[in-house]
Symmetry: C3
Subunit: 251 residues, 3 copies
């Protein structure tokens, strides 16, 4: 188990594979079908590698290095996360989730599994990701957003949502089954998106309608600076190489 630091009250299967400098907090359970890479922390009251119901999902749960899983979270077996996964408290991630690097899942996040997530995606608190969702990289989803998948619930036909790179979905919005939101588009708060959204456009309302191009949204406090694409001005938490590319893109 390398040089891992396991709290005496934790219950860690001897079959779990823990890298160097992995810390397991009090009262946390780690099942056997789990690989946690180095320099990661699993906090208190978590259950990691929870057995999947789905008999085809007994693959290993893989968590990349430099990850931090906050308290009371449950991660199922059969999912895979790149390096730098960070979660809030009480996160649930079911089997079949395939995520890239540096995913952040906020407190109360509920990932239903069988979905794809790119790199550097940010899910704020209490986001619900339905099965068959396909999420690109550098996407932002704000609290109480639901990505749906069943056009005629309940049915056996799932049509996941697709969010391309740099998409932003503001709080309390629903994206209906099969909808594709194209690169850099923005969905306003409290919207219900029933049709595909063009790249770099803003939609809002229920049903959501086209409002303007994203570059037409200006900061009030600055002299006419566009608020979008957000990568022009918002750089916190991103890798230097991405930020340098973004800076050169807009200079």
């Amino acid at each position: 188990m390398g040089t891992s630091l396991i709290h005496p009250t934790a219950i860690v299967s001897p079959e779990a594979s823990l890298g160097d400098n992995v810390e397991i907090g009090p009262f946390t359970i780690v099942h056997g079908n789990v690989r946690i890479s180095g320099d990661s922390t699993i906090e208190s009251f978590c259950e990691i590698g929870y057995p999947a119901n789905d008999p085809g999902s007994h693959e290993m749960l893989e968590i990349g290095s430099h990850s931090r899983i906050r308290s009371h979270s449950v991660l199922y077996e059969g999912s895979r996360f790149g390096d730098g996964l960070v979660t809030g408290h009480r996160v649930t991630v079911r089997e079949g989730t395939k995520a890239g690097r540096n995913l952040q899942i906020g407190t109360l996040g509920d990932i239903q599994g069988h979905c794809q997530i790119g790199d550097y995606v940010r899910l704020h608190s209490n986001v619900h990701i339905g099965q068959q969702s396909v999420i690109g990289s550098y996407v932002w989803i704000f609290p109480y957003v639901v990505l749906t998948n069943d056009k005629h619930p309940p049915s056996e036909i799932l049509n996941g949502v697709t969010l391309e790179d740099y998409v932003v979905i503001a709080t309390m919005s629903v994206v209906l089954p099969g909808v594709r939101i194209k690169e850099g588009a923005l969905v306003g708060a409290h919207s219900s998106v029933s049709k595909d959204v063009e790249a770099n456009s803003v939609v809002a309302g229920s049903p959501a309608k086209f409002i303007c191009e994203t570059h037409e949204i200006k900061f009030k406090d600055d002299a006419g600076t566009s608020a979008y694409p957000w990568r022009r001005h918002f750089h916190r938490g991103y890798p230097p190489e991405a930020v340098l590319e973004w800076i050169s893109e807009f200079s």
Copy 2:
């Protein structure tokens, strides 16, 4: 305690009544005022039989056989569930909930108690059921739906919502106090239902308005098959006798 399997870290009151083949997971607390019937599993980090504030609600918590309570859930004393209760993670059910057979409550479900729920009801993730709600059988409620009860909040006058059999409420919808949604009706996503809904009709919007009859909604992929009543085609998880009845109903 029959042949129950209690994890050594669990704290189980000697007054709790556990049937044969009941499993209690790690770090779980079972209070005394509880009866769990056979072949049931209570997973980790749960608190079962949590004492009710309400002095009139110190009845026993009764959980039927073949039930499964997933991790981090809290069930109060003074509620009663038929056989085959299944919950997701982090479910809260307060006192005075009277539910039939095979209720499924999704992750983060919040049942406020003092409510009635029929047989084979499906609550997806993060559903909020207000006090005085009356829910029939074979009902489906999707994520982030709220059943309210107070017309002029805050007040002391509660008017619960009534959902008749086979009702479906899609994600992120609110049902306002005292509303009755009649048999087989469908509420579209992101709706606010302020008036009674007729049987087998579809309503949507905020406030929700009549859209069409449910049988007018067709699957895109099939040659004109109606998506509703859903019991015509969706049978997963239901008992054979119900499915046989549904098949003969539509043949």
Copy 3:
């Protein structure tokens, strides 16, 4: 540690300051940077005084006397609560929250920190309070309400929401960044509030529009009694001196 009652499975730092008659439940963690005043209860599976990321937020977590923190809750260091704090289950409160007396936070509440909350505030289940929110006294917020703060997400410019005394926000509503809702105003269910709301007025819809004055809303069952201001008739849980003042105000 006075005469505190610490469950043998709890992990309590010797540096934590606990008043007389403080009870710490099973499997609960109390960090060192915490002061809990007398006659308070911390229930099971909680983590109290969770270390803040923000290096400027390593102040002590202070919880007033006669408080009750229900199970599975997480309270960060660097926050301060007056006497009589009561929470539901699975509450999260981050650093920099400064709250007055007798705050109630419902199950699944998510307080993002760096916010101010007055006295006798009631947050029902699953309320999300964004950073920089300023909430007066005697405010009511119902389930699945989000107070936002970022006009052009993601950005580094936060504009919190202000709710004045006696404001009521009904379920599943969003208050957009920088909005001020003035004393005694009421926001209807499933609304999105994008502009300031005048005192004692009712707004609803998405975007929310003026409906009427609050006093024009009458109870159906009584002969023309106004439902608002609610303090005229709803007194449960308030201190006798406030209730006496309210009674004299309307007599």
